[in-house]
């Protein structure tokens, strides 16, 4: 199951890449990531949520406890 889980994560990463590229294909009529962020960040609630989560990523991986000890293992 480990490989299957990693495969699904990889699919998500590929989907992110495709959406990023797709925003620059006029035929798809899909907004770019920049346009999307531009619209979202105009309001305070998404701005706070996104910046807070972004900052926490740095804290989580560089400073805090990144990996939890196994509860039952």
């Amino acid at each position: 199951m480990r490989d299957a889980t990693i495969f699904v994560y990889s699919l998500c990463v590929v989907a992110f890449a495709l959406l990023t590229l797709g925003g620059h294909r006029p035929g798809l009529r899909l907004g770019t990531l920049t346009e999307l962020l531009d619209a979202a960040l105009a309001e305070r609630a998404p701005r706070i949520a996104l910046v807070l989560f972004w900052w926490w990523l740095g804290w989580h991986f560089l400073v805090g406890q990144t990996v939890d000890p196994s509860v039952l293992g």
Partner: protein, 204 residues
């Protein structure tokens, strides 16, 4: 939808997202993370309800200053031992600057990326952005569900041997070496700079 009700309804999903993250952190037993996301959710709710006073506009910071600051921080973060005091102080300093900046209101939008053309053009742009929002949301939610499932199964006997890794489990070993840390730190600071610049670049 306009007015206070519209503000509350638009803030509600973000409030729920932070609340859900805080609940997951409760399960992880990470008190700091619970307080962080809990306070974020409370702040969003209070702001949407109009309880908090409106702050002044965001001060103008030249892009060159942001880039220079990010460069110094990147060197400091890369040279400091991971999970060490210096690393903690540097990341905390980033938060102490970024989070208040995120709270300040955005200046009035005045540039070309704001639709000034015919109404049809503005409508088409809104539709494109809405489609992008839906598509990105679907993938983000799917990824979060996989992460949450892995998190839950990883805490059961069947997942004790790493059969259901969370994203943190996969990235953690990569960040122990300097190439992985370099990539992460540069990417993290660049994303933060992008988020900060996105709503500042139209300042009058």
């Amino acid at each position: 939808m306009r007015g206070r009700t519209g503000v509350v309804l638009r803030a509600l999903p973000w409030f729920l997202i932070l609340l859900a993250i805080a609940i997951v952190q409760v399960v992880r037993g990470q008190v700091f993370d619970v307080v962080l996301f809990g306070l974020g959710a409370v702040a969003i709710a209070a702001d949407a309800l109009g309880v908090l006073p409106e702050p002044r506009r965001v001060p103008s910071i030249p892009g060159s200053v942001l880039i220079a600051g990010a460069g110094v921080l990147a060197v400091l973060l890369i040279l400091s031992p991971r999970h060490g005091l210096a690393e903690g102080a540097a990341v905390a300093a980033v938060g102490l600057v970024a989070l208040p900046l995120a709270w300040l209101p955005r200046a009035r939008r005045t540039t070309a990326s704001e639709p000034h053309g015919p109404d049809d053009e503005a409508v088409v742009r809104r539709i494109r952005i809405r489609r992008a929002a839906i598509a990105w949301s679907v993938v983000v939610v799917a990824m979060c569900l996989v992460e949450l499932t892995s998190f839950i199964l990883g805490r059961m006997p069947m997942g004790a041997d790493g059969e259901y890794p969370a994203i943190s489990d996969l990235l953690d070993p990569l960040l122990d070496g300097w190439p992985g840390r370099l990539c992460f730190i540069v990417g993290w600071l660049a994303l933060g700079g992008l988020l900060l610049r996105m709503w500042r670049r139209r300042d009058a």
